[in-house]
Amino acid sequence: MENYEINQRNFEEEFTISPNGFLFDHVSGLTYTLNKTGLFILRRIGEKKNASEIVMEITEKFEVSQERANVDFQEFLVQAKEFGVL
């Protein structure tokens, strides 16, 4: 699986992420809500994990096939990049 290309942000400094899925971007001042799986992915991106690791972890934790998890993961990345979060 190819790895993803993103602007790796400094999660520690630039984001406040709450366990409820609230995200505050200290650079842009914008706020977001993530659902449970979205939050799960974002945290792992913050931990600098690669795409296959993340997808693997999703399938381990949630009831979902690898194909579907992968497609959704890619779509999530596109969305987050568009918002300028990644």
Binding site: T16, S18, N20, F22, F24, T33
Partner: protein, 357 residues
């Protein structure tokens, strides 16, 4: 009574302020309140939400345009968490929903004081002129219109300027056909059709806030002359007055319409003949209602007394010559507030441990 939990809607006190914040302030005006004051907001940025001095708990509820069943489901959810004893809606557009879910609310033990269906219909902007005509109450000539052709007709009948109004909110004065068309579009794009067009009456503006009990008896009245208006025509300063003619006219209107609960009668004193013309009946407290507390006739507080079942005799006339001046202020809020509102739809103020900002 002061141990009741009172939920109040309409928390956005912005350029066209909703009355929820002043209603809460009025209730708290009469000494320590033991129960909770619960704010029901529609958007995370409804300004009153962030006023921890007034509210104990805040919950977001769905817009009435999403249907009353969703509103009811959400209130049921909130009620399970925090018992609501009394609910005071303060926005025009909510009333239909709350009236429709009233039996369910009462079954849950949530008490409300709402107008009945027929009086609410009678006061609607589209048919108020019929009511006035029937009872010989002076009012500006009115047309209910659905398209531009209606504008032309109104101009022909009334001349310029004309007042263009939405059926819930918004009113503009138009001095030309083109201007009227712009306002028609502006209002209808937000609040839909029909649009109400009225002849323009020139004169001083007066408002009377009234409160009637469950039997339609008028319990309190606060008449006010507007001292300063915003460009949108909202009162930004006003003074209580004492004019028997105005008070008697208000009594007559409320008796004829069999009103229950709070309402605001808006009048213009026609400079041509000195008569009071009824412009609108707003089926709720006005945004300047805190003035009633200042003038010794605290209507929101009295409303809670009535709703809680207390027998309340008509109040003595309010003090005249009491002035209100509205001013905007900024509150400083931690990020946690927004986090809680956007993820949980609620904000519980912990008043004992104030967080350092």
């Amino acid at each position: 009574m002061k141990n009741l939990n009172v939920a109040i809607t309409g928390l956005h006190a912005a350029d066209s302020p909703a009355p929820g914040v002043p209603v809460a302030r009025s209730i708290l005006h009469e000494g320590k309140w033991e129960g909770k004051i619960i704010g029901l907001g529609y958007d995370s940025f409804d300004t009153g939400i962030y006023d921890k001095g007034l509210f104990d708990e805040i919950y977001l509820i769905p817009y009435p345009s999403e249907g009353e069943f969703n509103v009811l489901a959400r209130i049921r959810q909130i009620h399970q968490k925090t018992k609501i004893d009394v609910l005071i809606p303060t926005l025009d557009a909510e009333l239909n929903s709350f009236m429709r879910i009233r039996p369910e609310l009462e079954e849950m033990g949530i008490k409300v004081l709402l107008p009945n269906d027929s009086s609410l219909k009678m006061r609607s902007k589209a048919v108020l002129s019929n009511f006035c005509e029937k009872y010989d109450i002076p009012f500006p000539r009115t047309k209910v219109i659905f398209d531009y052709a209606g504008i032309s007709q109104a101009i022909e009948d009334f001349g310029f300027p004309i007042v263009v109004k939405g059926s819930f909110y918004d009113a503009y004065i138009a001095y030309s056909y083109n201007e009227a068309v712009i306002y028609f579009n502006k209002i209808s794009s937000v609040w839909g059709l029909p649009i109400v067009v009225q002849e323009m009456i020139k004169g001083e503006e007066y408002d009377v806030c009234c409160l009637s009990d469950f039997h339609g008896k008028v319990i309190g009245k606060v008449p006010m002359r507007k001292l300063r208006l915003t460009p949108k025509g909202k009162a930004w300063a006003g003074v209580t007055i004492l004019d028997k003619e105005l008070l008697e006219l208000s009594d007559k209107i409320l008796e004829r319409i069999h009103w229950n609960g709070p309402c605001e009668l808006e009048f213009l004193k026609n400079e041509k003949n000195g008569k009071y013309y009824l412009i609108e009946i707003n089926p709720r407290f006005p945004a300047w209602i805190y003035l009633s507390a200042g003038a010794g006739t605290n209507l929101p507080y009295t409303a809670v007394r009535i709703i809680s079942g207390e027998h309340v005799e008509p109040l003595a006339p309010c003090k005249s010559g009491v002035i209100f001046v509205r001013h905007a202020t900024d509150m400083i809020c931690p990020l946690d507030y927004l986090e809680s509102l956007t993820t949980k739809g609620e904000l519980i103020f912990n008043k004992s441990e104030e967080k350092e900002l």
